[in-house]
């Protein structure tokens, strides 16, 4: 196999899980996230065949995934009707009986943890996800989101504050 193709398939091996998490975090739909992940990598390959090697593959994949998610939002005419919010989960009878935020976290699986974070405005949810779930530093988040470093820092601090409020809110509600 040619080196060029090898590089591409190695990139899939390296980054597929983090890009998958990024997509599923935004869509809360595992099956859809898998489709989008495959689509992102196919589009990336088409780009590479026309334009050659990509210098920063990870950043490129995040950007492509971000665009694919936006397309999906448009198709679903969403972000207003968030799929399964924690409130809906509560209405559906999900009652773990938390008495503090620690036990709230304890009772959440990955998908529900994502939904909790997604209660935040999207710009905050995204930077928190990249910072704490993917361990990216400020400059990497800035590169992926296309925002200045300072903006990312501010959004990170505000996001943390708001997430704490949300966690306390659901601690009492659920």
């Amino acid at each position: 196999m040619e080196t060029f193709e090898k590089t591409f398939l190695n990139s899939y091996d390296l980054y597929s899980n983090e890009i998958f998490r990024f997509v599923i975090f935004k869509l809360s739909d595992r099956e859809k996230a898998k489709d989008i992940l495959q689509d992102v990598f196919m589009r990336t390959w088409v780009y590479m065949t026309k334009n050659g090697k990509i210098d920063n593959m990870r950043a490129f994949l995040y950007k492509a995934a971000g665009n694919a998610v936006i397309d999906e939002y448009r198709r679903q005419d969403r972000r207003d009707n968030k799929l399964d919010s924690l409130e809906t989960m509560a209405e559906d009878g999900y009652d773990p009986g938390f008495d503090d935020t620690d036990s709230l976290i304890e009772k959440l699986d990955g998908e529900k943890a994502m939904k909790l974070v997604n209660e935040l405005p999207e710009i905050y949810a995204e930077v928190l996800f990249l910072r704490f779930s993917e361990n990216k530093d400020i400059s990497e988040i800035a590169e992926i989101t296309g925002r200045p470093n300072n903006t990312v820092s501010v959004q990170l601090n505000r996001g943390i504050k708001q997430l704490k409020i949300i966690m306390n809110k659901y601690k009492d509600k659920l």
């Binding site: 943890a113 996800f129 997430l163």
Partner: protein, 206 residues
């Protein structure tokens, strides 16, 4: 908070899901291979398209060379007082500078000295008036060239190449004698002046 995100981090593709997408991608890659780009060397003209800097440099070089050689060629037939004459002088200087060895230098300077005489003759034929300043310039240049010829011939003789030096000297003198008309023309101004001066004095005494 870290614990919350640690939970999110556990959301991964399972091995089966990852392998399935990998296999789909492999098929996709094979069905959509990299477009083979022909080397630019297959078509020499493509190099101009692909490497703009190279193209600009090459075109500029061609322009400079063609414009320069064209101008120098045009200047070769120019006469004193004309716009291109300074280029002709510059070209002659370059020729004498690039000539290697006493023999070559003597021949170049001899040719250039004769050029001055030919120019005067052409100006006379074309009835182009030669003012005193131009005459003086031509005479100075002719004198300089002749001096250079003499110096290089001496150099040749000193190095034991007397025969070669004598031949160049003979050819040079023969050429000068063929252009007597030009020499007369160059000296005419001075002769006329002295004649005028003499006639003026005569008139006064009369």
């Amino acid at each position: 908070m870290e614990r919350l995100f640690a939970k999110i981090k556990k959301e991964n593709l399972d091995a089966g899901e990852k392998a399935k997408i990998f296999s789909n991608l492999e098929i996709f890659v094979n069905e959509n291979p990299v477009q083979k780009i022909k080397s630019p060397y297959y078509n020499p003209w493509l190099i101009f398209v692909r490497h703009k800097t190279f193209a600009i440099t090459a075109v500029s070089a061609i322009l400079v060379v063609s414009l320069t050689s064209g101008t120098v060629l045009a200047a070769k037939n120019s006469l004193p007082g004309e716009k291109l004459y300074s280029i002709k002088m510059l070209d002659e200087k370059m020729q004498s500078f690039t000539a290697i060895g006493a023999k070559a230098k003597a021949e170049v300077h001899a040719t250039q000295a004769i050029n001055r005489l030919q120019e005067v003759e052409q100006m006379v034929v074309k009835k182009i008036p030669i003012n005193q300043e131009t005459k003086q310039e031509i005479k100075d240049n002719f004198g300089d060239q002749t001096k250079e010829v003499k110096n290089h011939l001496d150099e040749l003789k000193n190095s034991g190449r007397t025969e070669e030096a004598d031949k160049i000297k003979y050819d040079f003198e023969s050429s000068i004698s063929e252009h007597k008309r030009a020499i007369i023309e160059l000296n005419d101004g001075e002769n006329k002046k002295s004649e005028d001066r003499q006639n003026g004095n005569k008139g006064k005494t009369d």
